[in-house]
Protein backbone atom coordinates (compact mmCIF):
# COMPACT_ATOMS: atom_id res chain seq x y z
CA UNK A 1 0.00 0.00 0.00
CA UNK A 2 2.72 2.32 0.98
CA UNK A 3 4.71 1.79 -2.13
CA UNK A 4 1.94 2.45 -4.62
CA UNK A 5 0.85 5.53 -2.75
CA UNK A 6 4.12 7.30 -3.25
CA UNK A 7 4.38 6.83 -7.00
CA UNK A 8 0.77 7.85 -7.31
CA UNK A 9 1.42 10.92 -5.31
CA UNK A 10 4.64 12.12 -6.80
CA UNK A 11 3.70 12.23 -10.45
CA UNK A 12 1.01 14.74 -9.67
CA UNK A 13 1.60 16.75 -12.75
CA UNK A 14 -1.46 18.87 -12.41
CA UNK A 15 -0.37 20.61 -9.30
CA UNK A 16 -1.52 24.05 -10.25
CA UNK A 17 -5.11 23.35 -11.26
CA UNK A 18 -6.03 20.99 -8.47
CA UNK A 19 -5.01 23.01 -5.48
CA UNK A 20 -6.80 25.94 -6.96
CA UNK A 21 -9.95 23.92 -7.40
CA UNK A 22 -9.52 22.43 -3.99
CA UNK A 23 -9.15 25.60 -2.05
CA UNK A 24 -12.78 26.54 -2.13
CA UNK A 25 -13.72 23.04 -1.03
CA UNK A 26 -11.17 23.13 1.69
CA UNK A 27 -12.48 26.42 2.87
CA UNK A 28 -16.01 25.15 2.91
CA UNK A 29 -14.94 22.10 4.81
CA UNK A 30 -12.82 23.95 7.23
CA UNK A 31 -14.97 26.07 9.49
CA UNK A 32 -15.56 23.24 11.96
CA UNK A 33 -11.89 22.26 12.06
CA UNK A 34 -9.95 23.85 14.82
CA UNK A 35 -6.65 23.15 13.12
CA UNK A 36 -7.52 25.60 10.39
CA UNK A 37 -7.81 28.37 12.83
CA UNK A 38 -4.51 27.43 14.28
CA UNK A 39 -2.87 27.29 10.94
CA UNK A 40 -4.31 30.63 10.01
CA UNK A 41 -3.25 32.25 13.22
CA UNK A 42 0.28 30.92 12.96
CA UNK A 43 2.84 33.02 11.21
CA UNK A 44 4.23 31.90 7.88
CA UNK A 45 7.48 30.92 9.43
CA UNK A 46 5.69 28.45 11.62
CA UNK A 47 3.71 26.97 8.79
CA UNK A 48 6.68 26.45 6.53
CA UNK A 49 8.14 23.43 8.22
CA UNK A 50 4.80 21.70 8.13
CA UNK A 51 4.50 21.40 4.39
CA UNK A 52 7.97 20.03 4.26
CA UNK A 53 7.00 17.43 6.81
CA UNK A 54 3.98 16.38 4.87
CA UNK A 55 5.97 16.18 1.70
CA UNK A 56 8.49 13.84 3.19
CA UNK A 57 5.80 11.69 4.67
CA UNK A 58 4.03 11.35 1.41
CA UNK A 59 7.19 10.75 -0.52
CA UNK A 60 8.64 7.92 1.50
CA UNK A 61 6.80 4.76 0.74
CA UNK A 62 6.65 2.97 4.09
CA UNK A 63 5.74 6.02 6.11
CA UNK A 64 2.33 6.98 4.80
CA UNK A 65 0.99 3.65 5.82
CA UNK A 66 2.23 4.05 9.34
CA UNK A 67 1.17 7.55 9.95
CA UNK A 68 -2.47 7.21 9.19
CA UNK A 69 -2.60 4.05 11.17
CA UNK A 70 -1.01 5.60 14.18
CA UNK A 71 -3.50 8.34 13.92
CA UNK A 72 -6.23 5.76 13.96
CA UNK A 73 -7.40 6.30 10.44
CA UNK A 74 -9.75 3.90 8.71
CA UNK A 75 -8.24 0.66 7.54
CA UNK A 76 -9.25 0.86 3.94
CA UNK A 77 -6.75 2.34 1.59
CA UNK A 78 -8.71 5.20 0.14
CA UNK A 79 -9.66 6.47 3.54
CA UNK A 80 -6.14 6.18 4.78
CA UNK A 81 -5.07 8.36 1.96
CA UNK A 82 -7.60 10.99 2.77
CA UNK A 83 -6.00 11.69 6.09
CA UNK A 84 -2.88 13.34 4.77
CA UNK A 85 -5.17 15.38 2.59
CA UNK A 86 -7.03 16.75 5.54
CA UNK A 87 -3.80 17.36 7.32
CA UNK A 88 -2.24 19.22 4.50
CA UNK A 89 -5.27 21.25 3.58
CA UNK A 90 -4.71 23.91 6.15
CA UNK A 91 -1.13 24.06 5.09
CA UNK A 92 -2.00 24.66 1.50
CA UNK A 93 -3.09 28.19 2.25
CA UNK A 94 0.05 29.28 3.99
CA UNK A 95 2.02 27.63 1.24
CA UNK A 96 0.33 29.73 -1.39
CA UNK A 97 2.19 32.93 -0.63
CA UNK A 98 5.44 31.03 -0.42
CA UNK A 99 4.98 29.20 -3.69
CA UNK A 100 7.98 30.93 -5.10
CA UNK A 101 10.14 29.12 -2.57
CA UNK A 102 11.61 25.83 -3.56
CA UNK A 103 10.55 23.88 -0.50
CA UNK A 104 6.82 24.31 -0.21
CA UNK A 105 6.34 23.44 -3.85
CA UNK A 106 6.55 19.67 -3.41
CA UNK A 107 4.04 19.78 -0.59
CA UNK A 108 0.97 20.29 -2.75
CA UNK A 109 2.06 17.58 -5.16
CA UNK A 110 0.97 14.63 -3.12
CA UNK A 111 -2.29 16.29 -2.40
CA UNK A 112 -3.84 16.33 -5.83
CA UNK A 113 -3.40 12.65 -6.45
CA UNK A 114 -4.52 11.78 -2.96
CA UNK A 115 -7.42 14.11 -2.94
CA UNK A 116 -8.71 13.16 -6.32
CA UNK A 117 -11.24 10.64 -5.03
CA UNK A 118 -12.99 11.58 -1.86
CA UNK A 119 -13.34 15.18 -0.91
CA UNK A 120 -16.60 14.37 0.74
CA UNK A 121 -15.08 11.41 2.51
CA UNK A 122 -12.34 13.58 3.83
CA UNK A 123 -14.97 15.44 5.75
CA UNK A 124 -16.45 12.34 7.25
CA UNK A 125 -13.12 10.75 8.02
CA UNK A 126 -12.20 12.86 11.02
CA UNK A 127 -15.47 12.01 12.69
CA UNK A 128 -15.10 8.26 12.68
CA UNK A 129 -11.42 7.61 13.01
CA UNK A 130 -11.33 5.59 16.19
CA UNK A 131 -14.17 3.36 15.13
CA UNK A 132 -12.51 2.07 11.98
CA UNK A 133 -8.99 2.13 13.35
CA UNK A 134 -7.97 -1.33 12.23
CA UNK A 135 -6.35 -2.72 15.32
CA UNK A 136 -3.68 -5.13 14.35
CA UNK A 137 -4.91 -8.63 14.88
CA UNK A 138 -1.97 -10.81 14.09
CA UNK A 139 -3.70 -13.94 15.29
CA UNK A 140 -6.57 -13.35 12.93
CA UNK A 141 -4.25 -12.69 10.02
CA UNK A 142 -2.32 -15.81 10.87
CA UNK A 143 -5.50 -17.83 10.96
CA UNK A 144 -6.67 -16.45 7.67
CA UNK A 145 -3.31 -17.23 6.18
CA UNK A 146 -3.53 -20.79 7.41
CA UNK A 147 -6.97 -21.25 5.99
CA UNK A 148 -6.64 -19.49 2.69
CA UNK A 149 -7.00 -21.75 -0.32
CA UNK A 150 -4.83 -19.41 -2.35
CA UNK A 151 -1.64 -21.05 -1.11
CA UNK A 152 -0.84 -24.72 -1.26
CA UNK A 153 0.09 -26.71 1.80
CA UNK A 154 3.75 -27.09 0.90
CA UNK A 155 4.03 -23.39 0.22
CA UNK A 156 2.40 -22.61 3.53
CA UNK A 157 4.85 -24.86 5.29
CA UNK A 158 7.71 -23.27 3.48
CA UNK A 159 6.47 -19.81 4.36
CA UNK A 160 6.08 -20.84 7.95
CA UNK A 161 9.68 -22.00 7.99
CA UNK A 162 10.79 -18.65 6.70
CA UNK A 163 8.62 -16.76 9.17
CA UNK A 164 10.03 -18.84 12.00
CA UNK A 165 13.56 -18.13 10.81
CA UNK A 166 12.87 -14.43 10.76
CA UNK A 167 11.23 -14.52 14.18
CA UNK A 168 14.31 -16.25 15.49
CA UNK A 169 16.43 -13.38 14.20
CA UNK A 170 14.16 -10.92 15.97
CA UNK A 171 14.41 -12.99 19.11
CA UNK A 172 18.17 -12.75 18.90
CA UNK A 173 17.91 -9.05 18.33
CA UNK A 174 15.78 -8.55 21.43
CA UNK A 175 17.96 -10.86 23.43
CA UNK A 176 20.98 -8.92 22.35
CA UNK A 177 22.77 -12.19 21.89
CA UNK A 178 23.89 -11.39 18.42
CA UNK A 179 24.66 -8.03 16.98
CA UNK A 180 21.77 -7.59 14.64
CA UNK A 181 20.77 -4.17 13.46
CA UNK A 182 17.13 -3.42 12.87
CA UNK A 183 17.93 -2.26 9.37
CA UNK A 184 19.29 -5.69 8.62
CA UNK A 185 16.01 -7.22 9.70
CA UNK A 186 13.81 -4.82 7.84
CA UNK A 187 14.98 -6.05 4.49
CA UNK A 188 14.22 -9.75 5.00
CA UNK A 189 10.97 -8.76 6.64
CA UNK A 190 9.90 -6.77 3.62
CA UNK A 191 11.08 -9.51 1.31
CA UNK A 192 9.10 -12.14 3.13
CA UNK A 193 6.05 -9.96 3.10
CA UNK A 194 6.45 -9.47 -0.61
CA UNK A 195 6.56 -13.21 -1.07
CA UNK A 196 3.38 -13.65 0.93
CA UNK A 197 1.65 -10.86 -0.91
CA UNK A 198 2.64 -12.13 -4.30
CA UNK A 199 1.31 -15.55 -3.40
CA UNK A 200 -1.95 -14.11 -2.16
CA UNK A 201 -2.70 -11.27 -4.49
CA UNK A 202 -4.45 -13.37 -7.11
CA UNK A 203 -6.07 -16.04 -4.98
CA UNK A 204 -7.02 -14.04 -1.92
CA UNK A 205 -6.71 -10.33 -2.63
CA UNK A 206 -8.64 -9.37 0.49
CA UNK A 207 -6.15 -11.09 2.72
CA UNK A 208 -3.28 -9.67 0.72
CA UNK A 209 -4.70 -6.22 1.25
CA UNK A 210 -5.21 -6.81 4.94
CA UNK A 211 -1.65 -7.98 5.36
CA UNK A 212 -0.30 -5.14 3.31
CA UNK A 213 -2.27 -2.66 5.38
CA UNK A 214 -0.78 -4.17 8.51
CA UNK A 215 2.76 -4.13 7.21
CA UNK A 216 4.00 -1.31 9.39
CA UNK A 217 1.95 -2.31 12.38
CA UNK A 218 3.47 -5.77 12.27
CA UNK A 219 6.90 -4.25 11.99
CA UNK A 220 6.22 -2.17 15.07
CA UNK A 221 5.20 -5.26 16.98
CA UNK A 222 8.33 -7.07 15.88
CA UNK A 223 10.62 -4.23 16.85
CA UNK A 224 8.99 -3.50 20.18
CA UNK A 225 10.44 -5.85 22.74
CA UNK A 226 7.37 -6.00 24.95
CA UNK A 227 4.95 -6.53 22.11
CA UNK A 228 7.22 -9.07 20.54
CA UNK A 229 7.47 -11.07 23.72
CA UNK A 230 3.72 -11.01 24.04
CA UNK A 231 3.37 -12.23 20.51
CA UNK A 232 5.75 -15.14 20.82
Amino acid sequence: MGAPAAPGASPGTTTAPTPASREPKAESAKPPAASTAEAASKPEAASKPEPAKVATNAASSPRPATQPKVEARPATQPKVETKPATQSKPEAKPAAPAVADAKPAPAPEPKPAVDAKPVAEAKAAPQAPAKTAAPLDIKSLEQRLKETPAIGIMTKLSLKNQVDDLLEKFREYHRGARKVALDELRRPYELLLMKVLSLLQDGDPALAQAINASRDAIWQVLTDREKFLQLT
Partner: protein, 81 residues
Protein backbone atom coordinates in the same frame (compact mmCIF):
# COMPACT_ATOMS: atom_id res chain seq x y z
CA UNK B 1 -9.34 -65.94 -14.88
CA UNK B 2 -6.71 -64.48 -17.18
CA UNK B 3 -9.25 -61.98 -18.31
CA UNK B 4 -9.81 -60.83 -14.78
CA UNK B 5 -6.08 -60.57 -14.10
CA UNK B 6 -5.60 -58.62 -17.27
CA UNK B 7 -8.46 -56.29 -16.42
CA UNK B 8 -7.11 -55.69 -12.94
CA UNK B 9 -3.63 -55.07 -14.30
CA UNK B 10 -4.96 -52.61 -16.81
CA UNK B 11 -6.97 -50.88 -14.14
CA UNK B 12 -3.93 -50.56 -11.88
CA UNK B 13 -1.84 -49.27 -14.74
CA UNK B 14 -4.53 -46.79 -15.58
CA UNK B 15 -4.87 -45.62 -12.01
CA UNK B 16 -1.18 -45.35 -11.17
CA UNK B 17 -0.31 -42.50 -13.49
CA UNK B 18 -3.40 -40.66 -12.35
CA UNK B 19 -2.22 -41.05 -8.80
CA UNK B 20 1.25 -39.84 -9.60
CA UNK B 21 -0.25 -37.17 -11.53
CA UNK B 22 -0.98 -33.86 -12.58
CA UNK B 23 -2.98 -31.83 -10.21
CA UNK B 24 -2.54 -28.25 -11.39
CA UNK B 25 -2.91 -26.99 -7.84
CA UNK B 26 -0.10 -29.27 -6.72
CA UNK B 27 2.07 -28.14 -9.58
CA UNK B 28 1.43 -24.55 -8.63
CA UNK B 29 2.22 -25.36 -5.03
CA UNK B 30 5.52 -26.95 -5.98
CA UNK B 31 6.34 -24.08 -8.28
CA UNK B 32 5.80 -21.66 -5.41
CA UNK B 33 7.88 -23.74 -3.02
CA UNK B 34 10.80 -23.94 -5.43
CA UNK B 35 10.55 -20.21 -6.09
CA UNK B 36 10.44 -19.50 -2.36
CA UNK B 37 13.72 -21.30 -2.05
CA UNK B 38 15.13 -19.10 -4.74
CA UNK B 39 15.84 -21.91 -7.12
CA UNK B 40 15.51 -21.67 -10.87
CA UNK B 41 12.55 -23.45 -12.30
CA UNK B 42 10.10 -21.22 -14.07
CA UNK B 43 7.19 -23.54 -13.68
CA UNK B 44 6.67 -27.11 -12.63
CA UNK B 45 5.38 -29.02 -15.61
CA UNK B 46 5.07 -32.38 -13.95
CA UNK B 47 5.76 -34.08 -10.71
CA UNK B 48 5.90 -37.44 -9.11
CA UNK B 49 4.55 -38.07 -5.66
CA UNK B 50 7.05 -40.15 -3.75
CA UNK B 51 5.14 -40.23 -0.54
CA UNK B 52 3.22 -38.03 1.78
CA UNK B 53 4.58 -34.57 1.17
CA UNK B 54 7.43 -35.79 -0.92
CA UNK B 55 7.69 -35.02 -4.59
CA UNK B 56 10.06 -34.95 -7.47
CA UNK B 57 9.16 -31.97 -9.58
CA UNK B 58 10.21 -31.40 -13.15
CA UNK B 59 10.49 -27.80 -14.22
CA UNK B 60 9.91 -26.18 -17.53
CA UNK B 61 13.61 -25.36 -17.80
CA UNK B 62 14.54 -29.01 -17.30
CA UNK B 63 15.56 -28.77 -13.67
CA UNK B 64 14.31 -31.48 -11.38
CA UNK B 65 13.89 -31.04 -7.67
CA UNK B 66 13.24 -33.28 -4.76
CA UNK B 67 10.74 -31.44 -2.59
CA UNK B 68 9.96 -32.88 0.79
CA UNK B 69 9.26 -32.12 4.40
CA UNK B 70 12.02 -33.24 6.70
CA UNK B 71 11.61 -34.62 10.20
CA UNK B 72 11.83 -31.12 11.67
CA UNK B 73 8.92 -29.96 9.59
CA UNK B 74 11.04 -27.94 7.23
CA UNK B 75 10.30 -27.95 3.55
CA UNK B 76 13.45 -28.94 1.72
CA UNK B 77 14.17 -28.53 -1.95
CA UNK B 78 17.11 -30.41 -3.33
CA UNK B 79 18.30 -30.75 -6.83
CA UNK B 80 17.38 -34.17 -8.12
CA UNK B 81 19.55 -36.11 -10.50
Amino acid sequence: MTRIVRAVTLAVLAITPAFAADDPAQRKDLTAVIALHGLPCGEVVSYEAKGDREFVATCKDGNRYHVFVDKNGRVMVEKAR
